[in-house]
């Protein structure tokens, strides 16, 4: 069965303090790895899709990378508005499996 494990569960950063979130996965036939952002009381908001090892995508202060076993979401010089839960998901042959997320808090 496809599995996604995210670490850490929670992360507290000072504004400007860069860090990385980890997503480890096992999947039969990876057809895409997704990163989502979820704010309290909202639905997940799509950030990135990665398809193959070595691929990287960037958006503002966020950069997602992919290897054969894990993905990282790097956050450079975060701001308080980056505070949210970040979800990782993988698409196998039939369905998308989500991790439980990393709750990021950025302190001014």
């Amino acid at each position: 069965e496809d599995q996604v494990t995210q670490s850490p569960e929670a992360l507290r950063l000072q504004e400007g303090e860069s860090s990385s979130l980890n997503c480890s996965y096992t999947v039969s036939g990876l057809r895409g790895l997704f990163w989502y952002r979820q704010d309290p009381g909202k639905g997940p908001e799509f950030l990135f899709t990665l398809y193959s090892a070595g691929e990287e995508k960037e958006k503002e202060r966020l950069k997602a990378t992919l290897t054969k076993k894990e993905s990282f979401l790097h956050i450079t010089a975060p701001k308080p508005e980056d505070s949210a839960t970040y979800l990782c998901a993988v698409r196998g042959y039939q369905k998308v499996t989500f991790g439980t997320g990393t709750k990021l808090q950025v302190i001014p």
Binding site: Y36, G43, P44, F46, L87, R91, K95, T100
Partner: protein
Amino acid sequence: DTAVSQTPKYLVTQMGNDKSIKCEQNLGHDTMYWYKQDSKKFLKIMFSYNNKELIINETVPNRFSPKSPDKAHLNLHINSLELGDSAVYFCASSSTSGNTIYFGEGSWLTVV
């Protein structure tokens, strides 16, 4: 214009009642989903429909019955509600390739 909209946003009901959550998407997608997010934020797929046909039905009690009248709508009906059904239910949609799934704002169901 909201891409994936679901109603109601909040629902408080008693055990044993029957309730429905409605979902509509205006993205032109042909695949729609229902996900359940529990108190630990774990997002788990319940159902997936492609062109009004059920293609994924995870281990969900028979009390949950999805209905897709057309490609743009996927409703969820729940019979005989139990305390354990309390959760946030998200409707979502994607193209057939499923490369990007767009979520609604969620429906907060509380069973008392």
